[in-house]
């Protein structure tokens, strides 16, 4: 029987947040923590392909919405980094998931789950994500005839909500992301692309879909990621 992706929800802060799931009843299951902001949109199809491949390998999976993103009932502007961390923890507890695979900036949302087993794909610091978004705003401002700079926008973002590439980011979240380093957890496996020169526990052939101008997929990469995750979970 082929199972189809289904929406379930998880309880967080007296709200229900959406969570996409496949084979939720499977005894081997993993939560996929999505990248942040635009990178999430560009990689969502790839992540859902990973879920389909995982199902074929006998692994159930969950892909929660981070509060303030996708179909979340609350606006991003009200969200702080610890909301994401608590939400991911709540989702993992509700569905009894011990294995957490986080992608890119998603690693910043798993930092407080010290006891869980972690798999991380091309982890990135919060400041790096913000820097690209700030640069996009500088370029957009320039096209509109305004001269802004990274430093000036950073000062503005620390004082109040700032719209960056379509995301309204509150000053607290901005400051927290700006200082958020890649977590160093006890049980973690870091996986990167073959083209990546940074230290890694494993490599995957594929391309950096988060850098593309448009969302794209890479079925070979999704399948290789699913295989690596399934091996990591074990029997």
């Amino acid at each position: 029987m082929t199972l189809h992706p289904a929406f379930v929800s998880y309880e967080f802060a007296n709200r229900k947040e959406f969570c996409l799931s496949i084979a939720a009843q499977s005894s081997r299951r993993v939560m996929l923590v999505p990248p942040l902001f635009d990178e999430m949109n560009r990689m969502r199809k790839m992540l859902v392909d990973v879920m389909r491949s995982l199902e074929a390998l006998g692994v159930g999976s969950f892909l929660p919405d981070l509060p303030g993103t996708n179909e979340s009932p609350i606006p991003l502007e009200q969200v702080v980094l610890s909301d994401w961390q608590k939400a991911i923890k709540a989702c993992a507890e509700q569905y009894q998931i011990r294995h957490i695979a986080s992608f890119r900036g998603g690693v910043l949302a798993v930092a407080s789950m010290k006891a869980a087993e972690h798999w991380m794909f091309t982890p990135v610091r919060g400041a790096t994500i913000l820097r690209t978004m700030l640069r996009t705003k500088v370029a957009a401002d320039r096209e509109a005839g305004l001269t802004t700079s990274l430093a000036e926008l950073t000062t503005r973002a620390e004082a109040g909500p700032l719209e960056l590439a379509g995301n309204i980011i509150g000053s607290e979240l901005f400051a927290q992301l700006n200082g958020a380093e890649i977590p160093d957890l006890e049980h973690q496996r870091i996986v990167r692309l073959q083209s990546d020169n940074k230290p890694t526990d494993g490599q995957i052939t594929g391309s950096a879909l988060w850098l593309r101008a448009e969302p794209d997929d890479d079925l070979e990469m999704s399948s290789a990621i699913a295989q690596d995750i399934a091996n990591w979970i074990g029997q």
Partner: protein
């Protein structure tokens, strides 16, 4: 764990261009110093340029300031490589 591998500036620029444009290794190997970028490659919009600069910073461990970025930098592949080479020796 496999350790960090040193990248030449040219290799880093080539790898980032490949990722951004979704090209094969063979296609991006054909880029020469004269290959035109901004304007010639529609995928290379201002958002992609923002990602490109941050990726180069990350991969080459450099910092690129606002005032170092102008249109000329993205005119050709050669200009971008020369800029990256200049930054790593700073």
């Amino acid at each position: 764990m496999q350790n960090e591998v040193e990248l030449t500036p040219e290799a880093a620029v080539r790898a980032v261009m490949r990722d951004i444009l979704g090209l094969s290794e063979e296609q991006v190997a054909e880029f020469t110093a004269e290959t035109e970028l901004f304007g010639a490659l529609p995928e290379l919009d201002s958002m992609a340029v923002a990602g490109l600069l941050t990726e180069l910073e990350d991969r080459l461990d450099i910092m690129i300031e606002d005032d170092e970025v102008d249109g000329e930098l993205f005119e050709t592949f050669g200009n971008l490589v020369a800029f990256a080479e200049m930054k790593v020796t700073e």
